[in-house]
């Protein structure tokens, strides 16, 4: 037997002979300054995002209150005309446009992104993964303004050639929505793939051992087990689409229009905020306050989505460990 018993770091090494001679030592609390500083820094980083959120809520809230002193909430929520020049402040045209473009985007991004995630996590060989993942990451790294012009210069002409020159406006929600969907695919696929990859291998083997095919294993075992992560991915994707600005600003149109036709031009909430705040707007005006009311609406929408998703996750979650 080695007579040296080492505990932790070298400086604290004690030998059995030393122990026998009852060398005095102290168990008193010591101050560990470095540790405290780091702990404080970590806390600061955590709290920072919380304070930012609080700050945003305060600014949005106070400016919105100024707006709602002059325009009733009922008018704001029910009027189908948004035209600050003639004192019409109905959010509906902006909201509808946002919902239309986001819905179109989700029809592209959610199925495609999830399918890509299932392929990457359940089917892809190491080689296929090593090609596909970087490509998806490049797609995620393209600046959104580039996507905006891609919509305008590629998707819109494509839609025109398919649906007819006269039926499709040069600025339209379909084009913006479709390209936004493509932009969001990597987000959905990468978050969903993480969720699927986290499902233990043992569950897959259990399914294969019962004679399940790859598809049955993926759809009936892995997907349900990873559903909470996938719902989280979907919610982030929807929030991303609702909040996306540049693509819709470039390609969807610059006039608030209440229309259900995706081939028409209509400005979204974010597009409107970007355009108005870019112009020369005086701070005291109701126009200025109005964009904060729109911002607050956006904020509440994403907050609501997050709350719904938490419920969904709790309800459908298959806890696997």
């Amino acid at each position: 037997m080695d007579d040296k018993v080492s505990i932790g770091m070298d400086s604290r090494r004690i030998t059995t002979s030393q122990r026998e001679t009852t060398r005095p030592f102290s168990l008193k609390k010591q101050s560990r300054l470095g540790e405290n500083i780091i702990q404080g820094f970590l806390l600061f980083c955590g709290v920072l995002s919380m304070f930012t959120t609080i700050g945003i809520v305060i600014v949005l809230g106070s400016e919105s209150i100024a707006f709602f002193r002059q325009v009733s909430i009922v008018e704001f929520l029910t009027n189908t005309v948004w035209s600050p020049q003639i004192d019409e402040f109905g959010i509906l045209p902006l909201l509808l446009s946002t919902l239309l473009t986001s819905t179109i985007a989700m029809f592209i991004a959610l199925p495609t992104g999830l399918a890509a995630a299932i392929y990457l996590s359940e089917y892809a060989s190491r080689r296929a993964r090593s090609i596909l993942k970087p490509v998806l990451e490049v797609l995620a790294g393209v600046p959104t303004v580039v996507y905006g012009y891609f919509a305008l210069k590629f998707m819109t002409p494509l839609l025109k050639s398919v649906f007819g020159e006269a039926n499709v406006n040069i600025y339209n929600m379909a084009s913006a929505g479709l390209v936004m969907g493509i932009m969001i695919i990597p987000l959905v696929s990468s978050m969903s793939e993480d969720a699927l990859s986290a499902v233990p291998r043992a569950l897959r083997e259990g399914a294969y051992g019962l004679g399940a095919t790859r598809l049955e294993t993926a759809i009936k075992v892995v997907l349900p087990a990873g559903i909470s992560g996938i719902i989280a991915a979907f919610v982030v994707a929807i929030s991303r689409a609702v909040g996306e600005t540049m693509i819709v600003a470039v390609a969807a149109g610059a006039k608030p229009t209440f229309t259900f036709n995706p081939f028409e031009a209509a400005e979204t909430m974010t597009g409107h905020i970007a355009r108005i705040s870019g112009g020369d707007l005086s701070y005291a005006s109701i126009d200025y306050n109005s964009i904060f009311a729109i911002g607050l609406t956006l904020f509440l929408m994403t907050l609501g989505l997050n709350m719904i998703s938490r419920r969904l996750v709790r309800r459908f979650r298959e806890v696997y460990e």
């Binding site: 190491r126 083997e205 259990g206 051992g209 019962l210 004679g211 009936k220 075992v221 349900p224 298959e318």
Partner: protein, 265 residues
């Protein structure tokens, strides 16, 4: 030809000159082994000797490992499982598997059992499925524990119960063979005994091959024992194979004797 016929009449699985590779590494060297119908065959040996690899080659579970390759023949009803036209999914349906760590699906107890029949094209009614679930749970000696909570998650059960659920789940697709890969290594002694008793009962209807780390378990609960050891190239080899009683009381190979008397491993 006559040799082959007698083989498959008496033996459920006939392994002939099997080599298993992981990439360039040969993990199993030239194993031949006959697994007798309605008996329990134990595969024993020290860690890394390839006993699990052999077991997982018996229902093409190794297909799922990147770079794994099997040479030689595994005959099941006179068909080589590794022939080009054999569907691994069909193989696994007929040769079921129970794993080291209990791995119930994160679904209800009922749905765990129903999973196998459903993916294999179950056509029966709801009440027939209820009967099947009950029958499988009874066979796995789990019915009395869970009959009032079939809708609860399989993961709410204790480790031993989970493993019996996994056995019941395997029974539900009515396989001919059940492969068990150290099914008791994560369980306490009492749960282990229950699984062993269960194996003894299942033997009447199924052929069982079990990998175990535990020599007492092999001695207690198997009819035949195969002892594996790594050779100099770190490839697993079959050292000795025979009726469990003979192998433990009168081993022919010195290395078997050393192992079962606890001199190494």
């Amino acid at each position: 030809m006559t040799e082959k016929q007698t083989d498959t009449a008496q033996y459920t699985l006939v392994v002939r000159n099997m080599n298993v590779y992981y990439g360039a590494f040969r993990a199993i060297n030239n194993v031949s082994l006959n697994i007798e119908r309605n008996k329990i065959t134990a595969l024993i040996g020290p860690s890394g000797c390839g006993k699990s690899t052999v077991l997982r080659s018996l229902n093409r579970m190794n297909d799922l490992v990147n770079g794994a390759r099997v040479e030689g023949e595994v005959l099941f009803h006179e068909q080589n499982l590794y022939a080009n036209d054999v569907d691994a999914v069909e193989v696994r349906r007929r040769i079921g598997m129970v794993f080291q760590k209990p791995n119930p699906f994160p679904k209800s107890i009922y749905d765990n059992i129903a999973f196998g029949p459903r993916i294999n094209g179950w056509k029966g009614t709801k009440s027939e499925m209820d009967d099947l679930v009950e029958r499988c749970l009874r066979q796995a000696a789990l019915w009395d524990d869970v009959k009032d909570k079939l809708k609860e998650s399989g993961l709410a059960l204790s480790g031993g119960q989970q493993q019996r659920l996994c056995i019941a789940r395997a029974l539900a697709v009515e396989p001919e063979v059940i492969l068990m890969d150290e099914p008791c290594s994560a369980l306490d002694p009492i749960s282990t005994l229950k699984i062993e008793e269960l194996m003894m009962e299942l033997r009447q209807r199924y052929t069982i091959a079990i990998v175990t780390h535990n020599m007492q378990q092999a001695a207690r609960a198997s009819d035949y024992t195969a002892f594996f050891l790594m050779n100099d190239q770190r490839a697993g080899e079959l050292v000795e194979y025979g009726p469990t009683g003979d192998l433990f009381t009168n081993p022919k190979d010195k290395r078997t004797e050393d192992y079962i008397t606890g001199r190494f491993g």
